[in-house]
Amino acid sequence: MTAELVANVLISGVLTGLVYGLMALGLSVIFGVVRVVNFAHGEMMTIAMFAAVMLFQVWGLDPFLAVVPVAAVFFVLGYFLQSSIINPFITRPEHSQFMLLVAVAIIMVNGLLMIFGPNARNVQVDYQLESYEWGPLLFDAARLYAAMAALVCSAAMFAFFRLTLTGKAIRACADNHLGARIVGLNVKHLYALTFGIGSACVAAAGCMMVLLVDVTPLLGPAYTLLAFVIVIVGGLGSMPGALLGGVLIGVSEALAGLVITPSAKSMFSFGLLILVLLFRPQGLMGRRS
């Protein structure tokens, strides 16, 4: 095992990890504000992946361009999912919320299965075969573009929550629900907006992910678990934490594939999760509540 090989595996891990990070960012934002764990997150990701594949197959739309329509549609769907189904559950106990989203997840996975069948699908674009060389280091073009796009989307999210009035209002809801209501914020509307934004995030991540992996309906639960691991490692509710967690998990998966066997890669992630929960339960970048 040469240093070059390790370095290249690390690069690929970091780049994939940034896309994971964007996916987890959606989950983290939703939990941070609405305080509901979205157990259908990975399922939403696979729906977005199928949407990107379909747009590509029917109209030849590049997955990076597909981000815009798919994310827009997901924003609207997320908004309505929250305002119609999830809002009444805000005050219910955790297991009740869990049941609700598990039911939504079951419908999503199997709906996809009904429509698309169990076979794997993918997109084929020219730049998937290209790569950039920098000395001994290799950067897959598709992976590099996806990682950059994920960074751009994440930066847009940060800017939204830091700079815009709506973003600030949403953060106010997250900090103090009662206080937000007292100053006259429409909390339910803001919750729905947040869920819409989180959905748009995961949709964008899904469009990028189709360039890296083949998609089947049954990927959903695996992505849900992956997103959980990432946000817990990074800190549930922390936006930079989600990106950091994504990169850590991306790297640990890539290294596990190199050191042991690819099928054991998520054992590394879960091991990391258990360690983080034990020694820093609020996550690497989370605040202690």
């Binding site: 955790e94 297991h95 039911a103 079951i106 419908i107 299965l113 309906p217 929960l277």
Partner: protein, 333 residues
Amino acid sequence: MFSELNSRARGLLVALAMLLLVLPFIASNYVLSVAVLILYFAYTGQAWNVMMGFCGQLSLGHALYVGLGGYTAAALFVHFGIGPWAGVLASVIVCMTAGALVGFLAFRFSIGGVYFALLTIAFAEFTRIGFDHWQWLGASGGFFLPVSQREVSDLVNLRGSPTMFYYIILALASAALLFSTWLLRTRVGYYWLAIRENPEAAEALGINLFRYKMLAVLISAGMTSIAGVFFAFYYNNLFPEQVFNMGRSIEIILGPIIGGVGTLFGPIVGAALLTLLADGITELLGAFGIELSGIKQVFYGVCLLLVTMFLPNGVWPALSKRLGVISNRNDEE
């Protein structure tokens, strides 16, 4: 023990018990297999309910205990020729140790709520992948028990007819119900309810949270491991992808949540409803000649969604009122 049930409730219970006892003589093999499934989920639901329903600790990784229990007994049987009755003891010990590990790590560092739930998933998934690569136990290719003649029932080695397995799981489910009823009447049961309702207040009253939460996890893990042994000997095969799967954990949880968390009859009602629902949908779709993969689960999901939305406390509290059954007060919450 059921002194707080009224006469009508007792009548219904006795009628149900009679029906269940004679079921193998009047029902077809298919009905019997559905009944086994219902009782299996009633049992595992009861076990999970000890932890969540009584003590308020949400576990989403109970497949861990089913899998560990099943694999322990099966490995002892296949590799060392040790029968399931001794094996079940080993399974309980292994699962209680695993439960102690999860509980110790979580409660020691006061991890609760969503974080605890996710920790239980993580342990189950971690173990699943570990077993996927453990050659001695067949790895991902699965671990098989020798299948013997179905006509002769060998109770010592748990090799026999579906009827034998039916009575075993019936006994287990009934025992779990009695055990849970008894637990709720003990001092520990009241401590649990106090912890579930308000941990800070419970602690202020001098209840050692760590000790009693641990006890709930240990009992729940031990009970679930027995279901794992049953699973292994009933189906004769174990695949890590199946037994440790998160989907399995969810299956265990659905019954008690749909039936009514924290109630004694909720897990049973929930298990019956869900199993009959799943089978009913299969039959119905079969009758209409619809064969589309996934459609059954979509219906199932929609039903779950509706129940969760419109019956927040589960089916049993609503049903028991409708039936005119006044159950004990702990049971109502």
